[in-house]
Amino acid sequence: MKEVKEKPILLAHGDGGALTHQLVQDLFLQHFKHEALQAQNDGALLKALSGPPVLSTDSFVISPYFFPGGDIGKLAVAGTVNDIAVTGAIPLYLTVAFILEEGLPISDLEKIVASLAKTAEEAGVAIVAGDTKVVERGHGDGIYINTTGLGYMPAERHLGYHQIQAGDKIIINGTIGDHGLSILSTRAGIAFDTELSSDCAPLNHLIEAILQSCPGAVKFMRDPTRGGVATTAKEIALASEKDLILDEEALPIGETVAGAAEFLGLDPLYMANEGKVIIIVDGERAEEVLATMRELPHGHNSAVIGKVEEKKSHKGQLYVKTHFGSHRILDMIAGDPLPRIC
């Protein structure tokens, strides 16, 4: 962690006593305005849901916590909102739990909290419960954040692996690998100057618009975060017991990402994304979905990147069709060269 000039977080900010209260009053309650949080009970009592609950949790340990195109606060909201949205549910509430490292500049925490609040507002979700712990210097990395999201599943939405069929198409809402490679450009030892920036964004409005505009077209969705498009697509292949075939020529990969991946010897298919969703759609309706998406924020560069086929072996596999037309197999990531990207 950088040398701290400004007021630092102290261990006493996490002892549940007077300094913790000060932090809650002067910082968190200033940015998070939902009544359930303001009530400061042990648990937040919320309005009854309009459908069965959907829960999702993720911790964010990204290093550095400020990065080109975002920060850990924005990421923590987008990540969990997206995890709920890709199930087809409507995200409503978030809990936010901070693990702060002694010495974190309070001004950095303020920026992160403000960004978190702003992103939550964009996504239309409310922060309704929180927690703060402080760990000694050398037992953290500035700040770790857990967000847990609660949403509800509207009636008649039944997305799932079981819906996926041969003939379905695979759509992504834009370019691949931007987040992973932009984080990478900040890392000591590799650091390079670049125009790259993370794609980090909440996608719930995009997703909801697709689901409402093209009812019945979407079979399944996932956000290709850690492990990238390849790992996520492979998981879908395994769970749906279908083969997924990505088309190398159709993959939207920015020139800057491609260039950086090349000199680092990395494959953009394995690079994390934080504002992307892989959508498996009814093959017949792929163009309709694509047209809808291209009109929407975060959807302008949407593309069909592959298709679903019956499995050719005992289990579903992921293939990529090369420029020469042959198929080669793709596996999950194993040993990410760059940890702590989310």
Binding site: D193, T194, E195, E255, T256, A258, F263
Partner: protein, 76 residues
């Protein structure tokens, strides 16, 4: 391990023989100690933090021209 990527020299620090090289919007610092004759605008192959060779534009052009001719004649 023997990966080497081509990049264009966009700045040279004579004193340290370090250069900034660029490829598709990404910039890195590399050492020119192995190619001291390199100049601004040259394309170099970069390996493990060092530029190890200046790419020969004439050869690249010639090679591509040759193959395009051969392939064209063959196809026709």
């Amino acid at each position: 391990m023997c990966l080497a990527a081509p990049s264009r020299i966009t700045r040279i620090e004579e004193a340290s023989m370090m250069a900034e090289v660029e490829s598709f919007g990404n910039k890195r610092k590399v050492s020119l100690l192995m190619v001291p004759e390199a100049k601004m605008g040259d394309y170099v192959l970069v390996h493990a933090g060092y530029a190890i060779q200046i790419l020969d534009e004439a050869d690249a052009k010639e090679s591509l021209r040759l193959w395009e001719e051969i392939l064209c004649s063959q196809n026709n």
